[in-house]
Symmetry: C2
Subunit: 430 residues, 2 copies
């Protein structure tokens, strides 16, 4: 019996999130006996709660093909709508909307939290006697989904592109920093990843031979502003310059910006970014020599830079999207499609499935053994792991009239079948 | 009679500064009856003062060819060594070094200050009875060299690439911002250019049809943090999101970071970047709706991103470097090679010369008529001017083993002929 499908994106985007969306869409068409219409929820789970569903059959096939190289989640949106066990009404609403639209397949592209949501939706559907195959598609530039042993997933789609961004901009900043004499000698760059150092670690891919005066400061800890300044001064004595990549999760002793559980900024005393705290500390008290530190905070640029998408990442994001559909149709509910490494050299992966439940509870930090003893670098094991993920060459981002040509989908919602609903977190007082 | 040449770079780099260097080097080889050896000064005028000169004939021709696509000034360095009339000893030293090495040609790649230095060196050489053709090669991403009428120069090499960076990242950030629902609704980006709004203005090239919720705040003024917040709130009411590109020269009423005349940071009360001041203001008191603002400070990334180099800019930077040699050999001392616009559509330029003296005193802001009446946008005249400068397609940045292959020159200095010298600004107490 044919049923409809909903696909939705959740959490911070990546340059390849839409490649997974395309993988889901194309694979759904290959199961015409199982899947009828495919709806994309506008802005993830918010679109399900609000019954804002877009019929993907309405779209121009050429625009859909462009999803492969369309960065971020502008095509159908994503959201940071947090769903906890307590939001019973929201969960019930999700099931109601899916039943109203005869949805038998739910593909959720996201990180740990989204896998948790997919898992809960899957369980609730069973309780309600509804046949629903809820399947996860992994996605996060943070690479923090999974287990320390890499048995659940080798790496998350999105990470390879963030890693490529960092390896490329650190190469560029090295040219810049090397060229600037002693007048601007310390370039401080702030990398994403509040709890794990996967992203700053990728800076080392810019320089696997370790010839740049590059220091990395991880969320995993071990350093303070004081020891950072000592390390920088030592490097300035040696080479006259330094590149500091600091995780936004680096502990600057209360001088930085704090985030709460929903990603909102909490105001500390100084309301500075970590990079600014480091720059101010170095320039005010830390630097022992001529020159000064400058701060760079790429922010969302590191997760939206289309031209830094890794070709390997694009392909894997697409494939894991396809795999999710195969799993959902063939194996039923409660799985996440995953990428496991077959070999390092030559690099090869295989696509498989793991229980949503196991992934939902996971949170992977950079393995301690992959951080160098001085806490400023990563090991060759990390390089062997991460190097294949950034690919070999530039991706082909189509250009039209000198600008990037991104997919432009028709955002019109299918007819609503249910009464209006205000999601729990949108209600007054929340 | 054959004489030697010195080429040097000065000030902040650009992705195409080395293309000008290559233009100078290649053109010098075409005047074998006039020019013998070409020396690059290591870190600009500092290299001349310290007699740190690199013989460019020693270099691998393949590495030299790579200069065309090698970003920033890592190849032979640049500097921010400021030379004022009072530094008589420094100027005398420059002439001494040039005489000692039989230098008859001086090509100085830089902005206003560098043209001023080249002009002074040119005059002093005449006073000392030395034959020296000092010639300027324009370079600055700021596009602030020149006159309001564009008679001295149409645009500076480097600006087209910075403009391309901004038009591309604003496209990417628009996808990101559009995708993020109301949870991260205001993306604030800080653009370089303390005194002029040329760089933030280029953001509009991302969206010539004016469909994005994009606002620009220029150094040229007209807005405050309060009016910025009002404008942002109005846009949030209309479209639920907003992209704010703010010049680092935007007046945040003492809440930002200040720079002195040498580009060094002066500490105000808050030691924040302008972007952070805007973000804090919006999140604390400014925003009237759900969601919050995030800050992006690309910093040196906007002047070092190789892949965002404009192919038009690369070619023009190369050509204007060549033109400088033709002018120096053919017309003698005291000129800057320049780019003048022949036509907008089809875009065409011609290379010419203007007196260094006139350029040295120039400082061009974004023409008032090119800023929209509400102070948040640029006019179509600006778009007609700037559009051709970003080119049509991605540049070809060579890749080797998955990384960018930049030129690597042999940095070994020719034998010194003069006693050691400590530049005025390097002396104790300065």
């Amino acid at each position: 019996m044919k049923r409809n499908a909903i696909v939705a994106q959740s959490g911070g985007p990546s340059p390849v999130i839409n490649a997974s969306l395309l993988g889901v869409l194309e694979a759904c068409r290959e199961f015409p006996d199982h899947i009828d219409r495919v709806y994309a929820a506008w802005h993830g789970v918010e679109g399900i709660l609000l019954e804002e569903l877009i019929d993907m059959a309405d779209q121009d096939p050429e625009e859909l093909r462009l999803l492969r190289t369309t960065t971020s989640a502008g095509a159908v949106g994503t959201c940071r709508y947090k769903l906890t066990e307590a939001q019973v009404e929201d969960f019930e609403r999700i099931i109601d909307v899916m039943m109203a639209h005869d949805v038998g397949y739910f593909f959720y592209i996201g990180g740990n939290d989204s896998m948790d949501t997919a898992h809960k939706v899957s369980r609730l559907a069973v309780e309600r006697g509804m046949e629903l195959a809820a399947t996860g598609v992994p996605k996060t530039i943070d690479n923090d989904v999974g287990d320390p042993g890499f048995k659940l997933i080798d790496h998350t789609p999105g990470y390879g592109s963030a890693a490529r961004y960092w390896s490329y901009i650190v190469q560029n900043v090295n040219e810049e920093n090397r060229g600037m004499s002693v007048s601007e000698s310390v370039a401080v760059l702030q990398a994403m990843g509040r709890k794990s150092g996967w992203i700053p670690a990728a800076s080392r891919l810019a320089d696997p031979e370790r010839q740049m005066p590059l220091q990395m400061y991880f969320a995993e800890g071990g350093h303070t502003l004081e020891s950072l300044a000592e390390n920088v001064n030592r490097e300035l004595q040696r080479s006259g310059r330094c590149i500091v990549v600091v995780s936004e999760g680096f502990d600057v002793g209360g001088l930085g910006e704090m985030h709460d559980g929903f990603g909102h900024i909490e105001y500390g005393a100084s309301q500075n970014t970590v990079a600014q705290a480091v720059v101010n500390y170095l320039n005010k008290v830390g630097l022992k020599s001529r020159g000064y530190a400058t701060g760079q905070v790429p922010g969302v640029l590191q997760r939206s830079s289309s031209i830094h998408a890794s070709t390997v990442d694009i392909e894997e994001a697409y494939r894991v999207g396809r795999k999710a559909v195969e799993v959902g149709v063939g194996e039923g509910s409660g799985w996440m499609a995953t990428i496991l490494r077959a070999s390092d050299c030559p690099y090869g992966v295989r696509y498989d499935k793991v229980p949503l439940e196991e992934v939902a509870a996971s949170a992977r930090q950079l393995p301690a053994g992959w951080i160098s003893p001085d806490g400023l670098d990563v090991s060759d094991s990390f390089l062997r792991y991460a190097r294949p993920l950034i690919g070999e060459d530039w991706p082909r981002i189509p250009i039209e009239k000198g600008l990037q040509r991104f997919a432009r989908l028709r955002i019109s919602f299918i007819d609503r079948k249910l009464p209006e609903y205000v999601p729990v977190r949108f209600r007054a007082g929340d």
